[in-house]
Symmetry: C2
């Protein structure tokens, strides 16, 4: 895959490269969740059901593209760490859908995990996926232990009480009272931005970038993450079940950037974030043409009004 990077970027078909990366990620995820016959419990089935299938794999692809933009250094670790982040993402979706949380029945066009396996097995599958994420990073033997512990710390910060779980808690218990768009944007950061940022930062750590470059990559991915969540809110507002592949208008009773700003302003905010992301990417001094195109491609069709 790295061969592409020695060519001129204009020569590379982005869609084809991303499709190859997605295939590579899917194959790796499948390997990461291989179980022995004796382990074939409902738990293992629920873990595979929740992880494998039709995910866009945006986070692992982002992680790999950062390492490729640094010349492919640490790419094997970026693949595994990116997959670990996808495990965490899948774990969070299982919980989001639970009856005691968003009570969503459909996810990626299929029954939510708890609808198919029951609440208890779904919760245990979520724990199993989060746990496996840390195991995958810790057991990646072709990288220095220091890089692995650094990646684990970044991931743990993204998941914990300054990240995903805090975001879900605020979403459930505080968001309905939000009247200020900046609070919604802060929540979007916790629910989506932190994991995007972790994906890109871990790609930069894998590539052993200098601290200044890592900081620029973090700024880049932070803006991308918030833009992505805003775009998701636009989809929830406008989408159909068929195209979103999940329950839409679940968030009707909750304020979103869209409900507080209106669609046009939300689209504008999204585009502005994208501009800031591009500026940060330029400051990173990475060979970021593919990264920029990738981000454009995942957001462009969502933000055209």
């Amino acid at each position: 895959m790295n061969l592409h990077l020695s060519e001129t970027h204009e020569d590379i078909d982005l869609d084809q490269h991303v499709a190859l990366l997605r295939d590579e990620v899917n194959a790796r995820l499948d390997l990461i969740l291989q179980f022995l016959p004796a382990q074939q419990t409902g738990l293992c089935s629920a873990m595979r059901y929740s992880l494998l299938g039709s995910g866009k794999r945006v986070r692992p692809i982002l992680c790999i593209l950062v390492s490729e933009a640094a010349g492919g250094r640490g790419r094997a670790f970026a693949l595994d760490a990116g997959c670990a982040i996808e495990l965490v993402h899948a774990a969070s979706l299982i919980l989001d859908d639970l009856p005691c949380m968003d009570a969503a029945t459909t996810r990626r066009g299929r029954p939510a995990t708890y609808k198919k396996f029951g609440d208890a097995t779904a919760i245990l599958a979520s724990i199993g996926l989060l746990n496996r994420a840390y195991e995958v990073i810790a057991e990646h033997s072709s990288t220095d232990d220091a890089i692995r512990t650094a990646a684990i710390r970044v991931l743990a910060t993204a998941v914990g009480t300054d990240g995903l779980v805090a975001g879900q808690e605020i979403d459930l218990n505080e968001r309905s009272a939000f009247t200020d768009a900046s609070r919604v944007e802060g929540l979007n950061w916790l629910k989506t931005g932190v994991l995007f940022s972790a994906a890109a930062e871990i790609g930069a750590i894998a590539a052993e970038l200098e601290p200044d470059a890592i900081r620029a990559v973090k700024r880049f991915s932070r803006h991308v993450g918030v833009a992505f969540q805003t775009a998701d809110d636009l989809i929830d507002q406008e989408g159909e079940l068929q195209s979103a592949g999940k329950d839409v208008r679940q968030d009707d009773y909750k304020p979103t950037l869209v409900s507080l700003m209106g669609k046009d302003a939300a689209r504008y905010s999204c585009r502005q974030r994208l501009e800031e992301a591009r500026a940060a990417l330029a400051e990173s001094n990475l060979d970021g043409a593919l990264l920029k195109s990738f981000v454009d491609s995942i957001l462009a069709h969502r933000t055209q009004g």
Copy 2:
């Protein structure tokens, strides 16, 4: 604390030493879950509520005692890693008590976490504790990164689909059909043994023991863990709410070693495990007098019929 170890073991008052260790662990756990004022959400309160309080701290004490038995090498890491294991244990208890799992209302003499904070916050607190466990190990800066990744791998194996979450899944969905004591013992291993074993193994890794000694420590702690779970089943059978501090006879409808073997045979099995644990400890060549006394003390009063 290590000063004790330079004395003759006969001189040491075990109860006093364990009480000091418990205080040290409790103080460290309190520090590990310090939150900023801006983070004072229900989530953080639920995490502190579930972790802090009256736990016996058997797992972290076991981890520290192994490192002390090796002369105190790696003791600071054993303290933090032992605390991480206690976080995992607390996370597992939150889930065990949920309405969709054991539906227990009381834990350690207080309302179960979900009764006090609601199902959603309880589940997120469990995730937050598990996640913080990995963070605590990864960020322990006074130990080699290789020791940290080794400890994370041991912990992840203990939690995952060959450990705790598998045990809980089997407990919920398969145990009611068990008729064979050996299957119950296998389940006891998954539900309790693996985390005991991880605690002792990580203490041995912290102390940088040789592979043979680590294997002996694992055998020792495996036997201790299974004995401890059998003793727990005896308490569930015989106990009163006041003394157990949790709902007792929750397991009445599930076969246990006690129900399949009878109380006397279960007590005998427990004592036999203890003998095997002592033999394994002797093979480890550790200075294990305190460890042996500690294990005796946590099990003796449970296995006297």
